[in-house]
């Protein structure tokens, strides 16, 4: 067995495309099921065990449906957007530490390099640009308004999102997700061995950071209360309004990858990634921790009414950005102490 074959399997099957796709569908099911239960409903039930195959059925059906391109749409952009929105989060997921095939207890990501955190953040930003283009190219007024709103929202949450994601990196002294996870594991072990006041302070600061991060992720994922760009009752489905069939399936998958990516980032940056006490392999920890993150996200999203775009913008700039800056400053100060 050459190294190449292992890498190929890692990319294509586990923990690569196949695993990520099924995991994304699983996360979608978790999200829907949790939301339904919190809303006093049952949610998907008759498709597979407790409806677990529901997202799978949705995607298969969409793939088989007719694909309509509006006559007045910009054909190239209209075609390109779903592919890119599908591909970007998938690409970003390859740098997330999940599970290595070469060693059962190792969680080195498929593609790791110094600075991959920056790449992930960059990909997240680029995605919004393509959402904007996708909405704009569909030549529907609802699409245009949705695209405009998506871009406006990005201005509000992208800065705190980036700032907060940097703070664990500052502590770890590395821009690599894998290294950040390793730092988390070792420093947590150190802290347990010898608890100290700066350690507690750092923990609290990072917790605040995680809170801000969750809020930004809700906006990134266009979940309530920030589903402003695809608000169903206001502008139908916003920038997605014109997509159907295969393109819609890709958009759906892309959105679900984004959900996984969000949960995985949250896990990697603040919850110690796939690491955990010994006899359980990293993959189990990864699944458990990301499921908890999805639960947190879906729980928050059913608790609120949708914000209006201007409210969201002013709120983000008034509170979220300063808080994120303060948090990063606190982390820098503490990193000097520890």
């Amino acid at each position: 067995m050459s190294n190449l074959a292992v890498t190929a399997i890692e990319v294509l099957i586990f923990p690569g495309i196949l695993f990520l796709t099924s995991y994304a569908l699983y996360c979608n099911w978790i999200n829907r099921k949790f939301a339904a239960r919190l809303q006093n409903r049952i949610g998907p039930l008759h498709t597979g065990w407790n409806g677990i195959l529901q997202p799978f059925a949705d995607v298969i059906k969409l793939l088989a449906n007719e694909d309509i391109t509006p006559a007045s749409a910009n054909k190239t952009l209209f075609l390109l957007t779903p592919i890119i929105i599908f591909a970007l989060p998938l690409a970003a997921l390859f740098v997330i530490p999940i599970q290595s095939l070469s060693n059962l207890w190792s969680y080195a990501p498929v593609a790791a390099f110094e600075g991959d955190l920056i790449v992930v953040l960059f990909l997240l930003t680029i995605m919004i640009l393509f959402i904007f283009l996708g909405g704009w190219s569909s030549a529907s007024r609802f699409g245009a308004v949705g695209a405009e709103r998506a871009a406006l929202m990005m201005i509000a949450y992208e800065i705190p999102l980036g700032l907060v994601a940097i703070s664990p990196a500052i502590m770890a002294g590395s821009m690599s997700l894998n290294k950040i996870v390793e730092w988390e594991v070792s420093s947590f072990a150190n802290f347990l061995a010898a608890p100290s006041l700066p350690g507690i302070l750092l923990g609290v600061t990072l917790l605040i950071g995680a809170g801000i991060y969750v809020i930004c992720l809700l906006a990134e994922l266009e979940m309530r209360p920030f589903d402003i760009s695809e608000a169903e009752t206001e502008i139908v489905h916003g920038w997605q309004v014109e997509y159907s069939g295969k393109k819609l399936a890709l958009l759906h998958l892309g959105h679900e990858f984004k959900l996984v990516l969000a949960a995985a980032l949250l896990t990697s940056l603040f919850l110690g990634g796939p690491a955990g006490p010994w006899p359980i392999p990293p993959i189990v920890w990864f699944v458990a921790k990301t499921t908890v993150c999805v639960f947190i996200l879906s729980n928050l999203s059913v608790l609120f009414a949708r914000f209006r775009i201007d409210q969201m913008l002013s709120w983000a700039w008034k509170y979220l950005v300063p808080l994120a800056v303060l948090q990063v400053m606190a982390v820098i100060v503490l990193s000097g102490v520890i």
């Binding site: 919190l38 809303q39 006093n40 409903r41 509006p70 006559a71 007045s72 749409a73 030549a139 529907s140 007024r141 609802f142 245009a144 308004v145 309530r224 209360p225 589903d227 402003i228 608000a231 169903e232 009752t233 206001e234 502008i235 139908v236 059913v302 608790l303 609120f304 009414a305 949708r306 914000f307 209006r308 775009i309 201007d310 409210q311």
Partner: protein, 393 residues
């Protein structure tokens, strides 16, 4: 029209409108500059149809003017006919009519509250409210046999009696409704995201409400004391002790508070009716071929959405000579246009929903104007032009 403005059509198929309706919004960025309502997608020609049907047949068509306020329409219709006939209906039937009317008010207001929550993107609240609304639907089903379109009032009384053995159960269900509504009142008055979206949004002043002849809860939310049940009591409303709620804000929040308070008041009225209902017959005889003497009558009813007027002119046949219905929503359209101007796109659904529009009522007599062609000239921007052309396809 400036460069920055473009037009967003809402309706006739739009998730915020459960009914076919078309509003044209000229928007500048996120701000609404002008609104043009185009009512008429639901025009069925009921008034004309009624002129060729007998009085008993008309009972059913009048009920289906609107499925949400069916009992209000039937009450108004039967009152009209009975007034021209000079018929005095049995006491017990009046109580039953009020009972069903107030149940319908609870059902309609809870429905509205849920839809309003949905419009501001608060689906969880929508699901909870509609879950509790099923209680009143069950109650209506027990009383009348159907969840909507109850067919209770008939000319000369009511069609079905309510039985005494069920009263304890009715009381219990009404208590549940009252308690849950109180809870939702607390939620609506304290939950921050709701207040952000509802307070100070879509304001109508008291002077404007009077000037534009606003009706019902919409007027009461602006501080106008107008309630047919108090102003021009019909059935037994002059005997029932109940309170008229008004708010002074005139915004969406005031609309919510007025309707929630009215829901609880309606539950109290229902309980009062159950406690005080006299025994006796429930209807007078009126045969399908009976003729109604020459005359005219105006019947006013406080439907859930406001003042409802029916006007009957009879020429001594077994069919009406002219029958006119005006539903409250038409009276509130001018108000809602005032409310929408200068607001945000995001506020359109909740402000529209704020008057609890019921276009199937409104449109019996109105036609549509598509008028698409006009928009073409007004629209300079190439891309937006494309958007409109697409919409045409």
């Amino acid at each position: 029209m400036s460069e920055r403005e473009y037009i967003i059509p809402i309706g006739p198929q739009h998730p915020a409108l459960k009914e076919p309706e078309n509003f044209l919004f000229k928007v500048d960025g996120e701000i609404v500059v002008d609104v043009e309502p185009r009512i008429g997608y639901n025009h069925r020609g009921i008034e004309k149809a009624m002129e060729s049907r007998t009085y008993i047949q008309n009972l059913y068509i009048v009920e289906r003017v609107c499925g949400i306020c069916s009992n209000a329409h039937q009450t108004a219709y039967t009152q009209c006919v009975e007034e021209v006939l000079g018929m005095e209906i049995p006491e017990r039937s009046k109580y039953i009519r009020v009972f069903v009317q107030e149940l319908e008010r609870i059902h309609s207001h809870l429905l509205w509250l849920g839809v309003a929550a949905h419009e501001i993107g608060f689906d969880t609240l929508f699901y909870y409210i509609w879950r509790d609304r099923e209680v009143v639907m069950d109650l209506l089903e027990m009383v009348s046999g159907n969840r909507c379109n109850y067919a209770m009032p008939t000319i000369g009384g009511v069609r079905r009696d309510i039985s005494k053995e069920n009263f304890p159960m009715y009381h219990k269900m009404l208590d549940t409704l009252h308690e849950r509504t109180l809870y939702y009142l607390g939620v609506c008055a304290s939950e921050k995201t709701i207040l952000e979206r509802a307070a100070g949004v879509g304001v109508t002043s008291k002077a404007d409400a009077i000037r534009l002849s606003a009706a019902g809860p919409t007027a009461r939310a602006s501080g106008v004391e107008s309630d047919i049940r108090k102003d021009s009591p019909y059935l037994i409303y002059d005997e029932i002790p109940f309170k008229m709620y008004t708010e002074t804000g005139g915004d969406v929040l005031s609309n919510v508070l007025v309707r929630v308070n009215e829901t609880m008041e309606a539950a109290k009225i229902c309980k009062w009716v159950l406690d005080n209902i006299p025994d006796g017959p429930i209807k007078e005889k009126f045969s399908p071929m009976s003729r109604v003497p020459e005359g005219e009558a105006v019947s006013l009813v406080e439907a859930q959405r406001g003042e409802l007027i029916h006007y009957l002119q009879s020429r001594g046949e077994n069919k009406p000579y002219r029958y006119k219905i005006r539903a409250p929503t038409l009276g509130n359209i001018l108000t809602v246009i005032e409310k929408l101007k200068g607001g945000y796109i995001a506020d359109i659904p909740i402000v529209l929903a704020g008057i609890d529009p019921c276009f199937s009522c409104t449109d019996r007599m109105v036609f549509v104007d598509e008028g698409k062609d006009r928009m073409w000239d007004m629209n300079g921007d190439q891309l937006r032009r494309y958007g409109i052309r697409w919409y045409e396809k």
